[in-house]
Symmetry: C2
Subunit: 191 residues, 2 copies
Amino acid sequence: MLARAGLTVERVVEAAADLADEAGFDRVTVSAVARGFGVKDASLYSHIRSLQDLRERVAVRSAGELADRVGAALMGCSGRDALMAFADAYRTFALAHPGRYQAQQLAMAPGRWAELGGDLRGIEATYALLRGYGLTEPAVTDAARLLRSAFHGFVLVESHGGFLAARSPAQSWPEVVDALHRALSTWPAGA
Amino acid sequence: MLARAGLTVERVVEAAADLADEAGFDRVTVSAVARGFGVKDASLYSHIRSLQDLRERVAVRSAGELADRVGAALMGCSGRDALMAFADAYRTFALAHPGRYQAQQLAMAPGRWAELGGDLRGIEATYALLRGYGLTEPAVTDAARLLRSAFHGFVLVESHGGFLAARSPAQSWPEVVDALHRALSTWPAGA
DNA sequence: TAGAGTTTCCTAGGAGTCCTAGGCAAATGG
DNA sequence: CCATTTGCCTAGGACTCCTAGGAAACTCTA
């Protein structure tokens, strides 16, 4: 048989991530990815261990990509501008790459994240941002959870078409971020 | 053949919802539900149209249950107490019924929700709560989206075990709700 | 109460999926 | 140039969704 497809773990994971963006993360299937390469499904098992393994790799890879965008957006900003930049970069990524974003919701066994080379840049960026508001532990942890929850929830509901009111989500977004800014600015000092 | 299982749409959907809470919504499968009744999978197709149909019914039913809890919790509360009651009822439901909660994320075709008898009590309760803060359109829509996003995001991340810091999510929760209260209290009047 | 009709569940089977086992051919390196 | 490694294959089992058609259990009516 001539002409190998030239598969590697990276290319398989990337193809899976692209497929996730196009068809939805839950439709990322070993067979579908194999079809995309013009290859039998069994062939992929030389590169990935299982469907679960493939999905976890997509999740970690996507989280890295998101952290890159957010990190780049934060460069040179501080305070309220930084929050806005963070928020916009986050939402933009989630809307442009719904499958990659959805992948990050995947629950993994403890330790599996680090095992696959996942980092914590996203969390670190958030903490840096919040220290700009003068927050210290444990307030900074609580505030980070607020931000993560609000951003995550918003883009998730938006990308599911869950906001039904006539007002477009894009109009609400700055108001939501502004509300979070007020919440951060008025955080009680001594907890 | 003796002894029918006595299946109805309601009982099938309820069993599916219970299975979702135990094993995860994505493991709700026609075969698994049928096994729970001691029945062949083909038998369920007299009651449901497809797996998709079953899952949508679980979603709508679960949303109704959540709205019941939230509505009951809100009775006789107002202002900040109402927000806390809302938040606690919401989070309690999501943690006690992870599968039912996860089901509500299911994206449906437009109109399908109403077709299955789904209501909008959840949204109405939110709007009533926010009018207690003196908000009017379009601020009330933006604020509703903030609340929904933050609550949804928090319980989602929490139930996935996504909060890694040592501080327990239960400790952060009141602080997060308090922050939202400040954001609502300081919402700019004329938008 | 007996027959007719409806409902409920069955068997049978096709198509798609995940995954394993074992094999051949292409690339690589001594 | 030959041996080893690597990449993709075929074959096949188990499980899934779903359809088609049949039989048994209920229900209704004359």
